[in-house]
């Protein structure tokens, strides 16, 4: 029971610090908005010429990709904040109190999900301005997927951050993992355009199933195999990430 209370304590603290320094929230949005504004129209033309097969409209296809990109880069890099906190001595200070050690993780992840939600809503609204038309239910389902992705990535980022305690190790590690994952998830262009071997590799990565499911949602298709696959993968991913993170945060030594 203390876990919930402790999580909220940590969450409120992280939120307060974020609100005091909102620059990062805004910066996180810059990349996807730029893609939307400068790449979106190019994509839309390609889409309308039939080279890309997808139900629904061009932006309905493109925006989910941007949302995942937002989630990937936003949530994956939060590990740096925990390294900074470690250097200030804040993590040790928290660990020496009776606070639930899992709450130290959960409170931070919650804050990251909230931040991402806000950014996602701004992105979706911008997308609408550019021509996105999607059912509200679809958009909400998309947000749910983003939340789960954010939870997974943030948990992993915090875990690696806490384990390595070094920005010099975390940054390349994240890049090494994030860039191929992003490329293999079909954010910009559908993987079906690629050769068999590429699609094969992509099948081993989690994000393509999630993006495909989001695209179905944005096209108004809620109940099909793709959706089920997407849900299963996202929940599975979150479960694995949270389990790993939990073990690292709760163990006796920092």
């Amino acid at each position: 029971m203390f876990f919930v209370r402790d999580t909220l304590l940590i969450f409120r603290r992280q939120l307060r610090l974020s609100l005091r320094n909102p620059a990062w929230v805004i910066i996180g949005l810059v990349q996807p908005i730029l893609y939307l504004a400068f790449f979106g129209p190019l994509f839309a033309t390609v889409f309308r010429n039939g080279l890309i097969k997808g139900a629904g409209n061009a932006y309905g296809y493109f925006v989910p990709g941007l949302l995942i990109q937002l989630g990937l880069f936003g949530a994956a890099f939060v590990g740096f904040t925990i390294i900074a906190d470690w250097r200030y001595g804040v993590i040790e200070r928290l660990r020496v109190t009776p606070v639930s050690r899992l709450a130290i993780l959960a409170g931070r992840v919650l804050r990251d999900v909230v931040t991402l939600f806000v950014q996602a809503i701004v992105l979706v609204l911008a997308g609408v301005a550019f021509g996105l038309r999607a059912p509200l239910a679809g958009v909400l389902i998309g947000l749910a997927f983003i939340a789960v992705v954010a939870v997974s990535l943030a948990a992993v980022s915090y875990t690696v951050g806490l384990l390595t305690k070094s920005e010099d190790v975390l940054a390349p590690a994240l890049n090494m993992v994030m860039v191929p994952l992003m490329l293999l998830s079909g954010i910009m262009l559908p993987l079906t355009l690629g050769p068999g071997w590429l699609q094969g590799i992509a099948r081993a990565t989690p994000f393509r199933y999630i993006i495909d499911a989001m695209r179905e949602a944005y096209a108004g298709q809620y109940l099909n195999a793709i959706m089920v696959e997407g849900i299963a993968v996202s929940i599975g991913l979150a479960a694995v990430c949270l389990w790993l993170a939990g073990r690292v945060f709760v163990r006796q030594n920092a």
């Binding site: 610090l17 906190d85 020496v96 920092a254």
Partner: protein, 339 residues
């Protein structure tokens, strides 16, 4: 029932095939209301021992009971009852977040220690007043001076009024005035609240000024323990330096038989005596020289410092930490007052 009881605590770090035995079997006992200091050079194992006692690090061997809770079986219980202030230098900072406000940090800390809601504001105000932080509540931590920030770090360890507080190098990095100021606060804690304080330091004057008992630690082991005065007297002895106008050999012979004289070294006309209780022995020495009709040109009495104690025990000086002589075998010297 001692408030800290540790038996054979040890901690080994393994990394890249190198094994570092940071703490090799530390046993100690601290009574309620004591101010006990761990004195030793950097790398002696002070911080590691402290982190084990505060549940931040799991011992590789040994057991302990801290504030009534078993360290290995009930770490959460230990955490509830103690306060800990990490060192402000080294790999990690003192615990306060530079981007937060002073009141936020104190309030959060009180909440983390599950101080009941109604008591949070009075407690944070009281501890802020105690450490002279009252006017600073709305300030961001990064705008505080070094001394203020350190006082905030200490306040964070005290906000829940623990019976036992661990301070890791509380004044390292501060200017002399802030240091002496902090010592007053630390003494005040014990005087007004009966708080037991366990601190680590590599400053001799700090150990002298604050500690009822000093545990000298070197290379992961406690090499001596006792009240500062007693350690100095027993292990080192006072140094009496005198210059005689006459035969130094004769003077040496006369003085050797005096009570308390442990050792005499002759350097031309200068005699260096190691004397137990120099101030009491001095009159006797003067009378003996007078009786032998020896003229005394000058005489000097030097009190030993804890550095001399450390030097005697380990062959190294705390100050430079450079090996002066092959290290003496570090066998724990049991003192009457130490346990």
């Amino acid at each position: 029932m001692p408030i800290i009881e540790a038996r054979g605590l040890a901690r080994t770090f393994t990394s890249h095939k190198r094994v570092v035995e940071a703490v090799r079997g530390v046993s100690l006992s601290v009574r309620e209301g004591e101010i006990v200091g761990f004195l030793g050079p950097n790398g002696a194992g002070k911080t590691t021992t402290l982190r084990m006692l505060t549940t931040l690090l799991k011992p590789t061997a040994g057991t302990a009971t801290v504030a009534g809770a078993d360290l290995l079986r009930d770490p959460a219980g230990v955490r509830r009852r103690i306060g800990y202030v990490p060192q402000a230098i080294g790999q990690t900072g003192g615990g306060s977040d530079p981007n937060a406000m002073v009141t936020e940090e104190l309030t959060l800390q009180a909440q983390l220690y599950r101080v009941p809601g109604a008591e949070i504001a009075p407690r944070t105000e009281a501890v802020a007043r105690q450490l002279e932080l009252s006017g600073l509540s709305g300030r961001l931590v990064k705008t505080l001076s070094g001394g203020q920030r350190r006082r905030l770090d200490i306040a964070l360890g005290l906000v829940h009024s623990p019976a036992l507080v661990f301070l890791d190098e509380p004044t390292t990095g501060l200017d002399p005035q802030s240091r002496s100021n902090l010592w007053d606060h630390i003494r005040g804690l014990r005087a007004t609240l009966g708080t037991t304080i366990f601190l680590t330091t590599h400053y001799l004057d700090e150990a002298d000024a604050l500690c009822d008992r000093v545990l000298i630690i070197d290379n992961g082991r406690i090499v001596a323990g006792g009240a500062p005065e007693e350690l100095k007297r027993r292990i080192s002895g006072d140094l009496v330096t005198l210059l005689v106008n006459g035969d130094p050999g004769l003077a040496s012979g006369v003085l050797a038989g005096q009570r308390g004289v442990r050792d005499i070294a002759i350097d031309q006309h200068t005699l260096r005596l190691t004397v137990e209780n120099g101030e009491e022995a001095l009159p006797g020495l003067l009378r003996a020289l007078d009786a032998a009709a020896l003229t005394l040109v000058s005489i000097q009495l030097a009190r030993p410092t804890l550095d001399d104690v450390f030097l005697t025990l380990t062959g190294r000086s705390l100050r430079e930490d450079s090996p002066a002589a092959p290290a003496a075998p570090s066998e724990p010297v049991t003192m009457a007052a130490a346990r």
